[in-house]
Amino acid sequence: MRERGTVSRSRPARDVGRTRPRRGVLAIAGAALQQAVAYRATTALGIALTFVWVIIQYYLWRSVYAARPVVGGFDFETMRTYVVLAYGLNALVGWRIASEMMSSIRTGAVTLDVLRPIDYRTAQLARAAGWGVVEGALSLLVSIVVGLLLLRISPPAGPVELVLFAVSVVLAFVTKALLVFLGSLLMFWTTNGLGVMWSLQALIQVLSGGVVPLSLLPSAVGAVVEVLPFRGVVWTPVGIYLGLGGLGRGVALLGLQALWVCVLWFAAGRAWRRAFAAVEVQGG
């Protein structure tokens, strides 16, 4: 009931706001950025925290490669590079953003966000971007620097690949943020944010290639996962960075990644309206 009231009252405000939506988006992103900076100690610890898994994988692969030069088409250097980049890319949209989205939906900040003269989806993405700039970019940077200096990962395959990689990283960020957004909509029906978040993160991790290179998966599974949107989070940008399959393939992969971003963008809008309407009907 209350929500319906807010929505109808918000309509005039929305139309007025439409004239300058960009300002609003930047404001939201800026606010999130400041928040992330304020929590930088926690953020930094969070980065260190997930690094445990990078260390484990590094030593594990080192032992594996001690006995053989190539595994699944990767040599040790490529695999090291993959492990470090996969970690950094996954951190682009970290726990923090996901839990922010979920709690904003659960605690009814939803109604506030709906009041803003900006599409809800955009608002959430803007907020994620604010956090992402600090948390995600920081961990990506840290992992690349640490990787280049300590773990001696490969540099990008070439300057063009580096540019494509940068574009792909942005798309990877949007892809994961939209996936998390879609998952967060479950918060309309359950209060168990932790359960949702764990399931979601685990699915994205495995299907994006964040746990193992997708090329190592059994071929039947691999064929399916290769075309799903999840690969855009890790597997596509890493492939481009490493120059796997050459430039032409890199551009094609970038196209697929962009296509999925569009699809997810519209799906997110539809799902959001549906979820919101469903809850409204229930009188929540």
């Binding site: 926690t42 610890l45 969070g46 260190a48 925290l49 445990v52 898994w53 260390i55 484990i56 030593y59 594990l60 080192r62 032992s63 594996v64 006995a67 053989r68 595994v71 699944g72 029906w189 359950t190 209060t191 168990n192 932790l194 359960g195 949702v196 978040m197 764990w198 399931s199 993160q201 685990a202 699915l203 991790q205 495995v206 746990v211 193992v212 190592l216 998966l217 059994p218």
Partner: protein, 273 residues
Amino acid sequence: MGDPARAEQPVRRLARIYVRLRVLQLRSALEYRGDFWLSILGAVLQQLTGVVFAVVLFTSVPDVLGWGPWEVALLFGLVMLPAGLVELLSDGPWSLRTTVNSGSFDRVLLRPLPPALQVAAEHFTVHGLGNALLGAVLVVAGLTGADAWRWWTVPFLVLTVVAGTVLVTAVTFLANMVVFWEPSATSTFPVFVVLTRDFAKFPLDLYPPALQVVLSSLPPFAFTSCFPALLLLDRGGSLRWLGLATPLVAALVALLAAVAWRAALRRYEGAGH
């Protein structure tokens, strides 16, 4: 005073009340049925990422430093089973940061029960069920696949898992107790400490010597999985006999936790409001 209820053996009374508190928390958890299953699903999926990694690894290579898939499954299981049991039996320390900072820890000091028991019984995290079951399956599968069952395997396993559960409980208490000294509203420190047990899901000789020493001491998670696994799998030379030391190490860590807990209680000042 002479009332009959107090004549009951103190330990039995405490055990009974502890069980009652647990059952009650389980029933509260079941009140939210959807959440209940979602929690289990989330935890199992999360653990499965590690399992997926191991499975894919071993479809590409036959072994790592002579450890095959079954041997590594045993390690995974020996880490996850005690971890799951701790989540089921004593997950309360994770809320210490909130209760201490809000001052609701006062209540714990006002009841005629040992504070540690109340804290341990505070929460019931159903996802422990998923972890414990998955862990048990992996232990059994690992031992069977490696063809490593012997007459003493079962009693040794029970001893190891019980000691491992004590060890992880003590470490969980120790990691979360820091709130009494460092009262900031959030902290990643305890999560970090407990996450280092992921190292123990793989053979210890993977890591450089310095890291091996850390894993056997600070916190000594290697004693829950790596060393007992050596003994169970009949490998690793004389290092395997460290597997027998798990109960001793668990007792030492528990003692340390008890001493620290006393200091923590003395340190408690309530919340200033």
